[in-house]
């Protein structure tokens, strides 16, 4: 590596690393708003926290009897603990070029919002005691704050492809998954990934992140539309003529996503970057929590 190249690489690395704490902090902040009130599995099982006293039943060992409680009456009681078991949750956050788009400078890029949501839900899950990782083989689910750092680092890598297909490899059977993308790319890839996941008993959540301009198509006049990676282009003489048909296609895409999600037992939501991230995170958290059963 020539010195200039090394220097450039270093500078880029610094720049990328500089983004991490900010993203982490924002994600922490966002996660902090949802934290309380949704603890535990709400059923007896293995764990540390007290759940309930119940009368002793045949099959319980004497060691299980809580003698202090039983001493207050004639019956023997067993102290149940709340069930605590770690789930594995696999994330896939779209890093393709199409996500690096914001229609106005006031709005965050879709990628930015997707990263933020992904990381915030990872932090929440981590605090809830779950294991979090990425789909694929790069980052298997683990617990701990170091994993959050690794996730943040992984999110910071950008993909050069225009549109990305969901990574459905390396999924642990019966785990949970979260896919965050704009899902504007090839629909077959999405369908294949979800089918594969469903085959393994993996259920999860699809979060479609869209820019408001993609919903409203506020364009007029002679226009050449280009994808962010400049690989796809489409020229029109009257952009406003295309609006209705574009919106039809977008609605069709959403319907397809809803349908495939329903078929595979997944949940689907559409989130716009103009809306606050918190609502999406709340929905995401409830969706995941509810699916714990």
């Amino acid at each position: 590596m020539t010195p200039e190249l090394a220097l450039q690489a270093r500078a880029r690395a610094e720049e990328e690393a500089g983004r991490l704490p900010a993203l982490l902090a924002r994600a922490e902040q966002l996660a902090g708003t949802v934290l309380l009130g949704e603890h535990g599995r709400r059923r007896a099982g293995l764990g540390d926290d007290f759940w309930q006293y119940r009368p002793m039943m045949p099959g319980d060992t004497y060691r299980a009897i809580d003698w202090r409680r039983s001493g207050r009456g004639d019956a023997q009681f067993v102290r149940d603990r709340e069930w605590q078991i770690a789930q594995s949750v696999m994330l896939w956050v779209d890093r393709a070029a199409s996500m690096r788009f914001a229609s106005t400078p006031d709005l965050p890029e879709k990628a930015d919002r997707a990263r933020l949501l992904g990381l915030a839900v990872a932090i929440l899950l981590n605090r809830g005691g779950e294991r979090v990782g990425l789909t694929g083989f790069d980052l298997p689910p683990r617990r701990g704050n170091a994993q959050i750092m690794r996730l943040a680092q992984a999110f910071a890598d950008a993909d050069t492809a225009d549109y990305a297909a969901p990574e459905a490899r390396g999924m642990i059977p019966h785990s949970r998954a979260v896919f965050i993308s704009d899902f504007l790319g090839d629909f077959d890839a999405v369908s294949a990934a979800l089918t594969k996941a469903a085959d393994r008993g993996v259920r999860g959540v699809l979060v479609q992140v869209l820019d408001p301009s993609e919903e409203t198509f506020p364009f007029r006049g002679r226009t050449i539309f280009e994808s962010v990676g400049r690989q796809v282009a489409h020229e029109t003489l009257k952009a406003n003529d295309l609006r209705a048909r574009y919106l039809e296609r977008l609605a069709a895409r959403k319907d397809e996503l809803t349908a495939i999600a329903r078929a595979t037992g997944w949940l689907y939501t559409c989130h716009h970057t103009s809306e606050p991230a918190q609502s999406a995170l709340l929905w995401l958290w409830r969706a995941l929590d509810g699916s714990h059963g």
């Binding site: 002679r222 226009t223 050449i224 539309f225 489409h234 020229e235 029109t236 003529d241 895409r253």
Partner: protein
């Protein structure tokens, strides 16, 4: 030049290019707008979509029309259109031109218009190659024919004089006429004058005469008089010209001595009247401060009148030694004084010490022998500042020991015991009469009636200073009136009584005149020449022709009789004159002045000054074309859908120019005030004072950033980005907390900024002063930063301070703290002192202290350095060493959190004292 109506064209053939416009229309209409490239991730959904019609948008007709208009405007503009082009003056030969100007005060109102007309005429004369001379009748100087350009350069130097061209000056002007025949232009001021006929005759003998006369209304303001308790104002105008209201402004000084508009009134002219009157009722104190009356929006000395003493009614306090005995009015010591002064002065009575704060002009002590030491001191103080103490003798004074052995400070001379009586029933000799006043005396020139006699008086001790203090004496040389100057004021003693017991002086008219001369009373009316015989008046301020007041620098004095009777001229300018303690105004318009319009023989052409200006139009047309083209750019962008991007970009650039400060975070710059306000109030914002030292400002900024981040992570306070504030310009009310690093060389704020700071402190703001030097200096005035802090904080409204007590609420607003370290860990941190009656109640952990946020916290621990972090949260400055240092930084952050919590929640945590009591009460 080709003429079309009132518009002429310099190059008319250029208009042929207008024929090309229809062709341009066809060309422009055929070209479609260029496509715009746009990033859009949803493009995959568009693939394969075709628009319904394949025809692209044509340029719309109105855009084309706009472009056509722009091109047409350019073509016409380049053809050089001129509105009202100047035509050559008919009848102008090549004879030399003499410009005669009245140049009086009456011309001043329309002087600018006259000069513009003259400028145009001179320009024309220059083109015609005519020689020009000017002659101003108020300042006649020999007229010499010169090139028009030379004269044109000097036109701005021609200014009117505040007097009129009288017969003498016209005579001089006749001799100043140049040789040979010439044409004459006469700029008349429009007033009738006897000397006009002779001048016109002389001019007509040499060539044709044209008169220019301004039709603008000419107003004259007559001198203001005082009658019926109000200031009477009258104005006249030259010609009746319909119903008209004019505003009269009374300009003067406010109590602080600054020029101010004190009062105004409106005079209404009837449709065919040339005179209007009005009255202005003002308190005496306000009246005394009026410097001038003027007609609003009039620039002529005639529309200004200066008030003098006749408007200034003096305040005279009368104090007698003995109470009035009922029914014996004529024996009252004050009776004659009251009668003499009442018409022209405002009289006050009351106890001496009550009167002095009202600051009267004169205090009269009639036969008062002794005054208490306190009164004497107050009186002396008042005299030093310009008061006039007027004393009259009497039985008590003669019998007292006042000013016997040594001169009493409140007496002008020493007195001999007992006084003397002459010509009475029990004494020898004839009653004495007054000697003529000598020319040093203020009474010089007053006629002495024969029947004024003196039968008793108090006698002055012969002293070396006596001769210089006598201003009136009897025929035998004994003093009758003595005077001593004291500071800016004076003490005058009449050696007789103020009633008719000792002399007949109070019965005579001389008594009133003497009081007038002493400026005890003001003149009731404009004095005539005889009254002013023998006085010399020095000009104080003089009027110029435009009504401006200038300082009379080294103008000579004027004899009194000339002042009221002589005509105005270079030797006697209108203005305010002063002699002794009196002032007299000589105005341009006297009480008798009437305005009469000038009449000219029919053979003389009289022209007004208005003429249609020659206006080149090409500039306007080209500017219009430019505007159209700019509109075209915007419209074209809007049509092609790019307007938004351009607008956002332009707005961003504009915003960057407006808001982005050249030196880091400056809170506010011109035009960004609203942004500043919304930015600072959208979220809690910490602020620091900009010291001008770049490094310190940066550290303060970084420190507050670190503190803001800490607050964001740890507490429910989520501050915005900190800002630096400029105390002079920025609004402080938005910030709950100001960090003020003290540097020895920062600028001391202006009084206005201090007022703002005090307002800020009173409204609950807090300033953290940081001298940043507690590593080297103890708290106090020893170090330069400490001294600067003292200088900075001196004008601030800061309560008594004390070092932070152990139970101060700062120690527990968020974290429990006992130390307040920053980069240094000195314990010298000062806050508002606890009230002296704060006591610790048994069973309570801490005292019930101040109810407010302490307005200042003062220390030297350099907190900003401890808090300072870069954008990534990395500390910028080391604190201590190793883990201990990091612990100290942590405590510093905790102090910051506590401080901000204290600012935002006040003594909330202090109120926790009452929790046990509250719980107790709730339980019952």
């Amino acid at each position: 030049m080709t003429l079309f109506g009132t518009i002429g064209f310099a190059t008319p053939w250029l208009l042929l290019a207008l024929l090309a416009l229809p062709i341009l229309w066809l060309i422009l209409r055929a070209v479609p707008p260029a496509p715009i490239r746009r990033l859009f991730p949803g493009v995959v959904l568009l693939l394969g979509l075709k628009e319904d019609e394949q025809v692209s948008d044509r340029t719309p007709w109105w855009l084309l029309l706009m472009r056509m208009l722009a091109v047409a405007a350019i073509i016409i503009g380049l053809a050089g259109p001129v509105l009202n082009p100047e035509e050559d003056r008919a009848g102008a030969g090549n004879a030399p031109l003499l410009v005669v100007m009245d140049g009086s005060w009456a011309s001043a109102g329309s002087w600018r218009a006259k000069m513009q007309t003259l400028d145009g005429i001179l320009a024309q004369a220059g083109r015609d190659d005519r020689a020009v001379a000017t002659l101003m009748l108020t300042r006649p100087e020999p007229a010499v024919f010169q090139a028009a350009g030379t004269v044109q350069n000097r036109v701005t130097g021609l200014i009117p004089a505040p007097w009129a061209p009288d017969a003498v000056r016209t005579e001089t002007a006749l001799t100043a006429l140049p040789e040979g025949d010439f044409e004459t232009l006469w700029f008349s001021d429009g007033l009738a004058r006897d000397s006009r006929a002779t001048m016109l005759e002389a001019l007509e003998a040499r060539g044709p005469v044209t008169v220019y006369e301004s039709p603008a209304p000419l107003y004259a303001l007559e001198p203001a008089t005082f009658a019926d308790g109000a200031v009477q104002i009258a104005a006249s105008r030259l010609r009746p010209a319909g119903t008209r209201d004019i505003r009269i402004l009374a300009q003067g000084r406010d109590p602080a001595g600054n020029p101010a508009l004190l009062a105004e009134t409106t005079l209404s002219f009837e449709a065919d009247a040339t005179r209007a009157e009005g009255a202005l009722s003002l308190p005496a104190e306000l009246r005394a401060r009026i410097d001038r009356f003027e007609v609003a929006a009039s620039t002529s000395a005639g529309a200004v009148t200066l008030p003098d003493d006749s408007l200034r009614r003096r305040e005279v306090a009368l104090i007698a030694g003995s109470e009035n005995r009922e029914g014996l009015e004529l024996l009252s010591p004050l009776h004659y004084l009251t009668r003499a002064l009442a018409p022209t002065a405002d009289l006050i009575d009351g106890a001496l010490l009550d009167i002095l704060p009202a600051n009267p002009d004169v205090i009269v002590l009639a036969d008062v022998a002794t005054v208490s030491p306190a009164e004497a001191e107050a009186l002396l103080d008042w005299i030093e500042k310009g008061g006039m103490l007027l004393r009259f003798a009497g039985q008590r004074l003669a019998a007292s020991e006042v000013s016997r052995a040594e001169e009493d400070p409140l007496m002008p001379v020493r007195l001999r015991a007992g006084g003397r009586t002459v010509g009475g029933a029990m004494s020898w000799g004839e009653p004495k009469t007054l000697a003529a006043f000598d020319d040093e005396s203020p009474f010089f020139g007053l006629a002495i009636p024969d029947d004024v006699t003196v039968t008793a008086q108090v006698m002055a001790q012969p002293d070396p200073t006596l001769a210089s203090r006598v201003i009136a004496q009897l025929t035998d040389g004994t003093p009758l009136v003595t005077r001593k100057r004291e500071g800016q004021g004076q003490i005058v003693l009449f050696h007789v009584t103020a009633n008719a017991e000792w002399s007949s002086l109070p019965l005579s008219g001389l008594f009133v005149q003497m009081l007038e001369r002493l400026a005890v009373s003001s003149m009731a009316a404009q004095p005539d020449a005889a009254d002013l015989e023998g006085t010399t008046w020095t000009p104080l301020r003089v009027l110029d022709a435009f009504g401006g007041l200038g300082v009379a620098e080294n103008l000579p004095g004027v004899a009194g009789e000339a002042l009221v009777s002589a005509a105005l001229g270079p030797e006697l300018r209108p203005g305010l004159y002063q002699a002794e303690d009196r002032s007299l105004a000589r105005n341009v318009i006297g009480a008798e002045t009437t305005l009469t319009p000038a009449t000219w023989p029919d053979r003389i052409p009289v022209e007004g000054l208005e003429r249609a200006e020659e206006t080149p139009l090409s500039g306007y047309l080209l500017a219009f074309a430019t505007l159209l083209l700019v509109a075209d750019v915007i419209a074209a962008l809007a049509l092609s859908g790019r307007l938004f991007g351009v607008r956002a970009g332009a707005a961003a650039i504009l915003a960057a120019l407006l808001i982005a400060p050249p030196d880091g975070a400056r809170a506010q710059s011109e035009g960004g005030e609203t942004n500043f306000a919304t930015g600072a109030t959208a979220e809690v914002t910490l602020a620091h004072v900009l010291t001008g030292d770049r490094e310190i400002d940066q550290i303060a900024q970084a420190g507050l950033r670190g503190l803001s981040d800490t607050l964001y992570f740890r507490t429910s306070v989520e501050p915005g980005a900190p800002v630096g504030v400029n105390l002079e310009e920025d609004e402080l009310a938005f910030f709950p907390f100001l960090y003020w690093p003290v540097t020895p060389d920062q600028a001391t704020p202006s009084p206005a900024a201090y007022a703002k700071l005090n307002e800020y402190l009173r409204a609950g703001g807090m300033i953290l002063f940081d001298t940043r030097d507690s590593d080297i200096a103890r708290f106090g005035a020893g170090a330069p930063n400490g001294r600067k802090l003292q200088a900075l904080a001196a004008p601030l409204d800061i309560p008594p301070l004390e070092p932070v007590p152990d139970d101060h609420v700062l120690t527990r607003t968020f974290y429990l703290l006992q130390d307040f370290p920053g980069r240094y860990a000195s314990r010298d941190v000062w806050v508002e002192a606890a009230p002296p009656d704060a006591e610790q109640i048994e069973g309570m952990p801490f005292r019930n202290l101040n109810d407010n946020v302490t307005p200042v916290v003062i220390g030297g621990n350099d907190w900003a350095s401890a808090w300072a972090t870069d954008e990534r949260g990395q500390p910028l400055r080391p604190v201590g060493s190793g883990f201990t240092g990091e612990r100290q930084r942590e405590v510093a952050f905790r102090f910051g959190v506590n401080l901000v919590m204290h600012v935002l929640t006040g003594n909330y945590k202090s109120d926790q004292v009452h929790v046990p009591a509250l719980l107790d009460r709730l339980g019952q």
